[in-house]
Amino acid sequence: MLTRIADLDIVFIGYDEPAREAHWQDLVTKAPRALRIDGVQGFTSAFQAAAKAARTERFVTIDADCRMEATFLDHPLADDALNSNKVLSWPTRNVVNGLAYGNGGLKCWTRSMLLSCRTTDAEHVDHVGDFGFIFESRVFGTCHPNGSPMQAFRSGFREGVRLGLVKGAPVGLDGLNRDLPPNNLRRLAAWCTIGTDVHLGNWCILGAREGCLAAQTASLDWALLADYERFATYFAGVSERCSGAPEAVSRAAGERLRAAGFAVADLAPGESAFFRDQLADAVDVVAFDSLGNEYHSGRDLPKHPEQAFAAYLTGALLGHGNAMNNVARCYRDGTGVAADPVAAQNWLLDAAAVGNHWALLRLGKAALKAGDSAAAAGWLERAVRAGNAEAVDLLATLGQAEPGETGRR
């Protein structure tokens, strides 16, 4: 029976990553039996090649721009996740900007899910593609997207595009602050700001800024994202524009973003290091909320309300507003835990205190229902500031004459 990462085959997948040889050497000192796939073009083909090479049904892949921590090998895997038909994905910390979230360079697949995948490489715009994912919270490695100017620019560009999408569509430059989920807004700003002190970090920042601008101003050639050769041609043009040094062009892009009200900054190297150290994600707290949702819905993991509640509560204790909100819902409905309306209200208030817009909206609505329009205005104004669209309308119905926000200045 499988219990730890060390029990699974580990496959290193390289293509053109400039530092792949060094990263491979690093890997084999930690995991001497690791396998390697090199130079297979296309996302699906490369991962299918890895599946063919692996001898265990569940196996782990590590992208060639990543380094794994040795402690990952001792990390145990939960049965429910292992037995699901999902890809497990661990965040890796980006050495340019310190972010660690969602899809990192460490993943655990089943051979059959990859070998039965019929999607061609050309159809794969996004890595997430056909597969369902379980996102893990702990960070077990670093991601080094700065091996060459093009690699750095491309990694920034992709995220600059992707983080600005809501349901696959751009929100427009003026919609960034308003419509993006808070986490994505924060990450996008970090990509566009942090890294001036890191080797080739300015290319990363330029990529993020230009990717964001292109996507939000409808000037993006979407085929770029899937086609490496096309991207190389595109990058040749960018490089020419920059005459080899991205700083000036990057500043101009930053100026355009600031003009649209999107806060990015041109940091001195010392400031950049300060930002990265202080903003680096120690753990991806969102993962517990997602896991709770999986157990709650029973779509890909067995439906298990108690496990869902436990996952939500863990995320809530780590300070995640959505998870607090879900804990409140579980107490309200008595799912996974005995119903307790007082506990439900407590967690809803906690979620509001950390700025969760759903919680603020619900408290605003409850106050409206109770006829306390002053309190309602207070909650709703905060909900609006936290990015809740419905609260804008509700607040409008309250009228402009209401007293201003309470308890804030």
Binding site: T71, A189, F274, L317, L318, L349
Partner: protein, 482 residues
């Protein structure tokens, strides 16, 4: 298990003010949110002020709010869990600092047991009456003052410690200089910044660098840098930070001549900062960085504001400790199921103690469904991360063999016990030595056995915990015995 709830509104609420410039406005705000709030004003000293509140309180537990805070209206809608309102448990809610975005776990809104406060030993001799920093723990869970701290996850107030230059200066000075203390003594000269506990160092980094965008924020930065400098490199007695009059005096005699007589009363505008102040902050930063190795960056107002927008305070510390309070029913009502969530959250940071504690719950089926396989795997992980207690426990399981990937393996048990002993868990030494003596010829090593036996003698018999490695070896496995 149903819980008894006590609404915050039913508790006496006290606003503690001394000389905070915005105290009247903040009290008015508080009264608007909670009309029954009472004010304790002008009582000198942390201990005396809290005892005054306890004296006036008609409820068994009461709430205090520091005068430089504005409370989130959500707070007064909360209800407190009767299981947490125990005779020696102090509940606190984190507070967010408006100048630098720091969310302090040991916040400015607290709920106290009245009887405890009336009898508590004085805080006046403790330097950090606000910070967790120099609160010493008697045991794993209990503080030197006999209390059990319990931290809630959501911040319920915002600290505005920047109403005037003097207040902003004082806030920075006190907080930052206190963060350079290790065992109550300034550490930068003797041990360097590496001696500062990582969480505190991270916080100090913020005090020293963020805030240029806030009104009087430059004064906070100046105070923070000066506090570190004077206490560590100019032999200023650190206890002055408890003497509020000292700050007024210092401002008048040292700073007014330098920054102009109106400096104390003229708020510093982040849009148009006094160039003398900007230069003084930078000069001090430069000096401090060269002598101490502490990081100094000069964030302009825009960068400081952006930083605060992006900053997400790290999750609560002490989750593992609170998990153990819940598991053992110390300071709070026993609840192993909730304890597991606390351990899981702490384990998400890779806190090896918490991984070990979670493994124990799984092996015992305490509060969670018993799961030997998962428990064994987590125990191995904690041991691999170097937790000596997990290594000792795992060694006990290897001596018996429990299945689930842990088959009988005395050599592995010996290796783990030696590692535990190397990690200063001296009591593991005796069993390690005996196993070394009994090992087959190729691993037999009398000299090493003697070394570990010597280590074992370091154990103070008074503190010898009830569970030694030998007992673990002699008794049934954890799972079977419970």
């Amino acid at each position: 298990m149903s819980r008894d709830w006590i609404p915050v509104r039913d508790l006496d609420v006290f606003f503690l003010s001394f000389d905070e410039p915005d105290a009247d406005a903040h009290f008015a705000d508080l009264r608007q949110k909670h009309p029954a709030a009472k004010r304790i004003h002008g009582v000198k000293g942390f201990d005396s002020a809290h005892k005054a509140a306890a004296d006036a309180s008609r409820t068994e537990h009461f709430v205090t709010i520091d005068a430089d805070n504005i409370v989130d209206p959500a707070f007064f809608e909360l209800a407190l869990d009767g299981g947490v309102l125990q005779p020696r448990t102090i509940v606190s809610w984190p507070a967010r600092n408006v100048v630098n975005g720091i969310v302090s776990g040991n916040g400015a809104v607290k709920c106290w047991p009245r009887g405890f406060v009336l009898e508590m030993r004085t805080h006046e001799n403790a330097i950090g009456d606000e910070g967790r920093v120099d609160f010493v723990y008697n045991t794993e869970l209990e503080r030197a003052d006999g209390s059990f701290p319990w931290d809630e996850p959501a911040p319920m107030s915002t600290v505005y410690g920047n109403a005037t230059p003097v207040q902003a200066f004082r806030a920075g000075f006190r907080a930052a200089s206190r963060l350079t203390l290790v065992n109550g003594r300034p550490c930068l000269v003797t041990h360097g910044s590496a001696a500062i506990w990582p969480t505190n160092l991270q916080r100090l980094d913020l005090w020293l660098n963020v805030g240029a965008d806030a009104p009087n924020g430059l004064w906070t930065l100046y105070g923070a840098r000066l506090g570190c400098w004077l206490v560590n490199f100019a032999e200023l007695d650190v206890t002055v930070i408890n003497d509020l009059a000292w700050f007024d005096h210092y401002f008048e005699t040292e700073l007014a001549p330098r920054f102009g007589p109106a400096a104390a009363t003229t708020s510093s505008d982040p849009e148009a900062p006094d160039p003398r102040l900007v230069a003084a902050v930078a000069e001090l930063g430069d000096k401090l960085q060269r002598r101490s190795g502490l990081r100094i960056v000069e964030l302009g107002a825009a960068a400081s504001a952006l930083f605060k927008r992006l900053y997400q305070p790290p999750p609560l510390t002490g989750l593992d400790r609170m998990g153990t309070m819940l598991r053992r029913g110390i300071g709070v009502r026993r609840d192993s199921t909730t304890a597991a969530a606390y351990y899981r959250a702490a384990a998400a940071h890779g806190e090896r103690n918490a991984i070990h504690n979670l493994a124990r719950l799984l092996l015992m089926g305490d509060g969670v469904r018993r799961d030997y396989r998962h428990g064994a795997a987590l125990l191995k992980e904690a041991a691999a991360l170097g937790d000596p207690y997990a290594q000792e426990r795992l060694a006990g399981l290897y001596l018996r063999g429990m299945g689930f990937g842990i088959e009988r393996d005395p050599a592995e048990a010996r290796r783990l016990l030696e590692a535990a002993c190397d990690g200063r868990l001296w009591r593991a030494g005796e069993a390690a030595a005996r196993l070394r003596e009994a090992a087959p010829r190729d691993e037999h090593d009398a000299a090493r056995a003697l070394i570990y036996m010597t280590f074992a003698s370091f154990v103070d018999t008074d503190t010898l915990p009830e569970r030694t490695a030998l007992r673990a070896a002699a008794t049934a496995t954890e799972g079977e015995s419970c």
